[in-house]
Symmetry: C2
Subunit: 214 residues, 2 copies
């Protein structure tokens, strides 16, 4: 039986903290899970997993990243504010465990500890992940605090992108599902993603058509 | 051959606008694609697809939503600012076409035009999508403008959630992959998501273990 459960805010607030964390983190939906490579001004590298990374614009191209208050992930924020450049790297599903491991409290570089190779592609001034085939190099643009709970939203401008040419369609679309990258839910779940169905531009009174490639 | 393509910002800026839009939207990664139900103070309902919806916090539970400047989606923003309540509904994969269709420029309610049922569950003051089994009811908390490109970030507090009880694990995790919900990439692609692999809490010098349920 598919019995439906309802939780009101009162009931959510009474849940044990970890149970609530797991529940609300998973109900917030599918997460764009990536590895962010950064370094400080001494060149010490850092690698951390992030799951709140999203599209801000295509012109100029930019991504937004949320930093939770008081978490280990702040090393990445400090590095970006200091050095200004960072990389976003998609996670091959067979490296999900190593990527998850970057969230532990490490001394020294997670690249080394978790088994990822450093790649300074095209002399971009931040470390890329060698094992990742779809990567973006970004520079710091701005950050602001969300008053509600002190979460920080940082905007990065995309300075370069790199991906396997066979992923791109003739209209520009890059099919990430071809890379078998990990996508997240909750705080610790990693999923692979099926081939997508693409639909035509939505017009009123005309059912969207499925886009097919030759 | 998996030949790698590189685009620098100069090259990205020279691309035709639609090609650049498709490319940068898909490179920004996996998108949490949901239907947002809202209404104005006259009770006229609106339903719109959004793909920039993300976790802001579990205590108090909150989601963030990005609104692009000058798009049709602004009806939802106007309704939320006016009426303060709205719903977030996950999209069953077999309704992806109808959900995509809500993005057309409609006069009147997309619920009717696109074939979704209105459900005022527990007298929550905003319309839920009858066809969606995982739903959140939220209230407006704050919004702010991202200076970089006038995108608006709105924060909503979760007031209630509802989902099939069989999706929840004993530690609180709600397994969205059981619902065969649609997740997005780019501007028009919808994907289903595999069962996830969950890993134990990341500790240094201890490889994450796979969490299994009895």
């Amino acid at each position: 039986m598919n019995e439906q459960i309802n939780y009101t805010l009162d009931k959510i607030n009474q849940l044990p903290s970890r149970f609530r964390g797991q529940m609300m983190n998973s109900l917030s939906g599918f997460k764009n899970t990536v590895l962010i490579g950064s370094q400080n001004s001494q060149g010490d590298t850092n690698l951390a997993i992030f799951s709140q990374v999203f599209h801000i614009g295509a012109n100029p191209p930019a991504l937004g990243i949320l930093f939770r208050p008081h978490t280990v992930a702040r090393h990445t924020l400090e590095n970006i504010l200091e050095h200004r450049y960072f990389t976003v790297n998609y996670i091959p599903m067979n490296y999900a465990s190593e990527a998850h491991h970057t969230a532990a409290k490490w001394d020294g570089s997670e690249f080394e500890h978790c088994g990822f190779g450093v790649d300074y592609q095209n002399e971009f001034p931040a470390p890329y992940v060698k094992e990742s085939t779809v990567r973006l190099g970004l520079s710091y643009e701005e950050h602001s605090k969300i008053t509600f709970n002190d979460t920080i939203l940082l905007v990065g401008k995309v300075l370069e992108v790199s991906f396997p040419s066979c992923f791109q369609k003739e209209d520009g679309y890059v099919d990430l599902s071809k890379g078998n990258f990990a996508m997240g839910t909750g705080m610790d779940a990693y999923h692979s993603v099926s081939r997508g169905i693409r639909f035509s531009y939505p017009e009123p009174h005309e059912k969207p058509k499925i886009i097919r490639y030759v």
